[in-house]
Amino acid sequence: MTARALNVLFLLIIPFLMAGVINRVKALAGGRKGPPLLQPFFDTLKLLRKGAVVSRVTSWVFAVAPALVLAATATALLLAPGVGRVQTIAFDGDIVLCLYLLGLAKFFQLISALDTGSAFEGMGASREALFSVIVEPSLFLFAGTLALVSGTTSFGGLFTLVGSGAWPAVAATTGTLLFFMLMLTEGCRIPVDDPNTHLELTMIHEVMILDNSGPDLAFLQYAAALKMYLFALLIAALVLPVDIAPFQAAVVLPLVALLCALLAGIVESLVARFRISHVPQFLFLTVALALIALAAAVYFRGGAV
């Protein structure tokens, strides 16, 4: 029960902190001081106190999308393995629902962008959709691989890496890499997307929410941060020891998440954004990682089950 309460609590704080950490790291790398760590949180609060400017072209789709995106993302996060791999809600196949809720969020994010009738937002939606096309199968391939070895279908069991030989190590390595890349992609970070660019033509996620304002924008930004946090959670579930104590877990989990953010910030400081046409190649790497994990699973499975 405590773990679940902590899960919910972390949901409300860590996503903002992660965003803050990335910004701070980038600022430091650029020789600036940077905003306070909780600046994203303050931004959100401020947006919630604003009214909204809405395009005349838009319909109810545009109006409901932000709430729906946030609700779906938040619900998905409730299913994810949190403190000590304890999920707030767990059942067989919860991983499927989790990923499909994110899909639902994506659906509405995309059609809400198209609802504005703007070429820029359409372009962003198109790119976002393309990247998901490559990302999604790798996620399911990896999840299936974990299921193949663990014999369970729920997040908690799947991410408890047990087994013979080098399997846990291989799974942890490939998984961490995979989820980190996905975190950068889904979190709209460099090298896939540049949230700070000044040119709409090169944006992906940011351009999709160009027309959102006020509480809507706050919801969407929070949802985006939550998504990053989700991948951090998955990484944490993979790398933390199987038998970690609940108390330790509660401490280590935020650290892992912030470490992920730190790494993302460093990547962002060192690497330039890819040309859009090169992004798919980068993303195919995630599929390759999932396939490596699958091959390893089949190889090592003999003693595991």
């Binding site: 009214g51 005349r56 629902l97 499975r301």
Partner: protein
């Protein structure tokens, strides 16, 4: 069973009696009676599903002699799907036919009713000849329905294509049946199990049957007719064909897998491979389409592929004795049969409403319809979410069950089979996300943004019957999505009739529990959404309300409808990756000079199966035919020569034989 037969009789009555009514009330009468008949038939099927198998034997004159109609769990399930799909289709159709005030419609209504009846008979027949009879009637009447609209060349070509495809399917199914009959010595399906004593033989016969049924179902590479026939048909028919009729192909595959029992590994893997190919390639082709109904037709190929994945997994499960794969694979497939009937019907009907309102199926000429036809738009978006397999709607439920089958079944599958199952999961995920891509395009370009043509600007919602038909489907979609447990239980009951290791009920129970949890989470999600939306609306009102303005054009203030993102540009990044695979042909006139006068870009999707299988096949046949062009030369002496040569050859043959 009595109820079911009474239903069929009622529909038959509607078919005949409508001709006697004046044109003014004909359609209404027909719809009313047909709906009653479908309710009866569906009710009968439902009772059987709950109570157990029932059958009735009719004595017929030669050539049938005995005709058994039987409703077992599998038949009842499909009969339910047909009845419900037909119900919505009839109601919608009654509205849609309002657009043809100058047509007498007698023949059309007759064919429509007979089409429904023949589908119901297909799933209940238990002997070869009656089955084939009903099967061909179904093809025949659907063909009649396809060319309802004033035919242009496209309709004609689609009709011919459909006709030939159906005949090839028939020939294959016939061959498969005959092979079984030759072994079992009887035309009763139940006797076919005897042919299993020779697995190689059974495999060959089943493969031939599979190919035949796959044509009807629309699996790639047997799908060529489908994206041509469905757009050509009027929308109330395309919805039924796509949602219901092609499922009879699935029924056939399931029925004969059930009868024959354990399939061979090779057969299971072939089915799985064909299914995965259909799912992935089907949705890719759909993405490339700009014709709304063709797009939907290709999605039928995709969804048939998803159903096929379930069947393939179940067959693999049967082969290796894997409980979850059989139960959940089969149940997932069956649920998807139901779900696809619901959302594909809804989407085709929506497309029909759009076509009726805007007189075009070209996505690029639509846009902004959500303002003009809000009900249709809302229903279409609902259907789109469902077909993309997203929660909280029904598409998610069947895909969830399929994933569960794979996640739970993989660890129990030895060696490489486990990997096959995992890879299938990856393929299903790819299919799902591509469907999402495709339907954001369909919704976004057709209904959202601003109108791209005058016709789209003047569109309006259709009348009550059409909306009612669609709403009926939408309600069912939500019902299955939010309360999936009973539907799964029904599907599991059907799945349990397959040879199963262990107690199927015991294995189904936890899944029913899981689905209960799923529906609770979904309710949580919906409440959260409602709460957030309420909060957001309150906040905006409190903070000073909504200001209206033009869409942010990055500083440009005079954006026009033509500057919107188009459907082809929306999918162009993917087409750049997969275009070659899809046979996408592009045509580009690059802008030249400082002030280019006119530039042009066009892209045409080409079905690779058409381009590399059908077209060369047709070319080969034409070539072979041309080898005989000398035969009817018009020269009489030559004609006589044939006879003389035949005689000479015959005499030489006889001489050889008697020497």
């Amino acid at each position: 069973m009595t109820l079911f037969l009474a239903g069929i009789a009622t529909i038959l009555t509607a078919a005949v009696a409508q001709a006697l009514f004046p044109r003014r009330t004909r359609v209404a009468f027909f719809a009313f009676v047909t709906v009653a008949g479908l309710l009866l038939a569906g009710g009968g099927a439902l009772m059987t599903l709950l109570n157990g198998t029932e059958s009735v034997l009719f004595a017929f004159p030669f050539p049938f002699e005995r005709v058994t109609l039987e409703l077992d769990a599998l038949s009842a399930f499909f009969a339910l799907v047909i009845a419900f799909g037909g119900l919505a289709g009839t109601i919608y159709g009654a509205g849609y036919l309002g657009g043809y005030p100058d047509r007498p419609l007698r023949g059309h209504l007759f064919a429509f009713a007979l089409f429904l009846i023949s589908m119901l008979l297909v799933v209940t027949s238990r002997e070869v000849l009656p089955f084939l009879f009903a099967w061909e009637l179904m093809s025949l009447f659907s063909l009649v329905l396809v060319f309802f609209d004033r035919g242009n060349d496209e309709v004609r070509d689609a009709t011919v294509n459909y006709f030939v495809a159906m005949h090839v399917a028939f020939a294959l199914i016939l061959t498969g049946f005959l092979l079984f009959m030759a072994r079992s010595g009887s035309g009763e399906f139940s006797s076919f199990a005897a042919a299993m004593s020779d697995p190689a033989f059974a495999e060959a016969a089943l493969l031939i049957l599979f190919a035949g049924f796959a044509i009807k179902a629309g699996f790639i590479p047997f799908h060529s007719w489908l994206p041509k026939a469905h757009p050509a048909a009027p929308s109330h028919v395309s919805g039924l064909m796509s949602g219901v009729m092609i499922k009879t192909g699935i029924y056939g595959i399931l029925r004969f897998t059930l009868i024959v029992g354990v399939p061979t590994t090779r057969l299971a893997l072939i089915v799985l491979a064909v299914a995965v190919l259909s799912a992935v390639v089907g949705v890719l082709y759909a993405l490339a389409q700009h014709d709304l109904k063709r797009l939907l037709a290709y999605h039928s190929v995709e969804n048939i592929g998803i159903i096929g994945i379930g069947i393939g997994l179940a067959m693999l499960g049967l082969r290796i004795g894997n409980g979850p794969l059989i139960l959940l694979g089969m149940a997932g497939a069956l649920l998807h049969v139901l779900n696809h009937a619901l959302f594909k019907g809804l989407l085709f009907y929506g497309a029909g409403a759009v076509y009726r309102a805007a007189h075009t199926r070209d996505i690029e000429k639509l846009g902004g319809l959500i303002a003009k036809m809000p009900a249709t738009a809302a229903l279409f978006i609902l259907g789109s979410v469902a077909i993309s397999g997203l929660p909280p709607l029904n598409g998610f439920i069947s895909e969830f069950v399929l994933y569960l089958a794979m996640l739970a079944g993989a660890p129990l599958a030895a060696g490489a089979f486990g990997a096959v199952v995992v890879l299938t999961a990856g393929a299903l995920a790819l299919t799902g996300i591509l469907a999402l891509y495709c339907f954001t395009k369909a919704c976004g370009i057709v209904f959202l943004g601003t109108p791209r043509s005058d016709a789209a600007d003047k569109a309006h919602d259709p009348g009550g019957a059409m909306i009612a038909g669609m709403t009926l489907l939408a309600l069912a979609i939500v019902a299955v999505g939010i309360v999936p447990a009973p539907f799964f239980a029904a599907a599991a009951k059907v799945a349990a009739t397959y040879p199963f290791p262990g107690d199927p009920a015991a294995q189904a129970a936890p899944v029913i529990g899981t689905l209960g949890t799923v529906s609770r989470v979904l309710v949580l999600f919906l409440s959260l959404f409602a709460l957030l939306y309420y909060v957001r609306s309150r906040l905006i009102v409190r903070n000073g309300g909504t200001a209206s303005d033009a869409t942010w054009g990055c500083g440009y203030r005079h954006a026009t409808a033509r500057m919107q993102y188009t459907a082809s540009s929306y999918v162009s990044p993917l087409m750049a990756l997969a275009g070659r695979l899809l046979g996408l042909r592009t045509h580009l006139e690059r802008p030249e000079g400082l002030f280019p006068a006119r530039t042009e870009f066009r892209s045409h999707p080409h079905d690779l199966v058409d381009a590399y299988l059908i077209a060369p096949g047709a070319k080969l046949i034409r070539y072979l035919f041309s080898l005989f062009r000398w035969v009817q030369s018009g020269d009489m002496a030559q004609y006589i020569l044939y006879g003389v040569l035949f005689l000479a050859a015959a005499l030489i043959w006889i001489m050889g034989g008697t020497r």
